[in-house]
Subunit: 166 residues, 2 copies
């Protein structure tokens, strides 16, 4: 039995970097989550939805638009919206003109909540992320994030597999 390593085919340095990256990201989002939760009873996903909705004209958006804007899977969004509706953060309106769809609208409560939550959350993001990095690092991350890692970023649909090599 060969315990002792050799399991991963990344170099030791790559492993260290990769694991550190994963841990750091988790730690970062965990802190943001906790702060949001403590200050505003919101989760990070809640916040993202509310921000997008509040930026939309009329505070209303079709779920599919929201999904595209957030780059979320439709079903994730659907669940999320249900939960948020239960809590009164968003409301559902029928979509005249397209019988299958709907409109999600920001409620007064949702608007109030996001307005109350935004300042401290943004401050926290700035504190933990932007202020903690050198301008060079910020630039690097921005560049990487915008171009997508393997040019593959745009999730696309996992199309029918016509032998799609992975």
């Amino acid at each position: 039995m060969m315990w002792a390593m050799g399991v991963d085919w990344l170099t030791a340095e790559e492993q260290r970097a990769w694991r550190a990256y994963i841990s750091l990201h988790r730690e970062l989002t965990a802190r943001l989550n906790r702060q949001l939760q403590a200050d505003s009873q919101l989760s990070l996903p809640d916040y993202e939805v509310l921000v997008h909705l509040s930026e939309a004209p009329g505070g209303r958006m079709r779920p599919y638009e929201l999904a595209k804007a957030l780059q979320w899977e439709q079903s994730r969004l659907s669940h999320q919206l249900s939960r948020m509706q239960r809590r009164g953060l968003v409301g559902r309106e029928e979509c005249t003109g397209d019988g299958r769809g709907a409109f999600m609208v920001l409620t007064a409560c949702g608007l109030e909540t996001i307005h109350a939550a935004a300042p401290s959350h943004a401050a926290k993001v700035r504190e933990l992320f932007f202020d903690a990095l050198t301008p060079d690092h910020v630039a690097a991350i921005a560049e990487i994030s915008h171009q997508g890692l393997a040019g593959l970023t745009p999730v696309e649909p996992v199309c029918d597999g016509t032998g799609e090599s992975d």
Copy 2:
């Protein structure tokens, strides 16, 4: 009602970078997850646990050691280990010498699974992460990850054979 923005106190550019970063990370881990799942019926968390266990002498570790190495919350690990035990990937042994604790051991199945999963997973990580970045970007991320974002990140001991202070 003031729809139309102003909710976030990050600059437009910061928002773009931040959101892109979040989306990119999600997409990256989602792909790794899917690949692992398809190839080896493992999740990323499963994989991480198996790797650490397989690197431990004897393939055995105390849960609290594992938690520290992975930088996971204890309760998360506990749940994870239960699930993995149910699937036969790990086993539990009593810890003589400390009545409250236990040892988690890699089972034959777990060992086989991780050995089978590692090559393609490592290749995928390399493909999506390391190969997709310029050396400069890799260096930047490594630097950021290792030093932690706000110096607040208790990214303590990254247990590494060759002792190295932080």
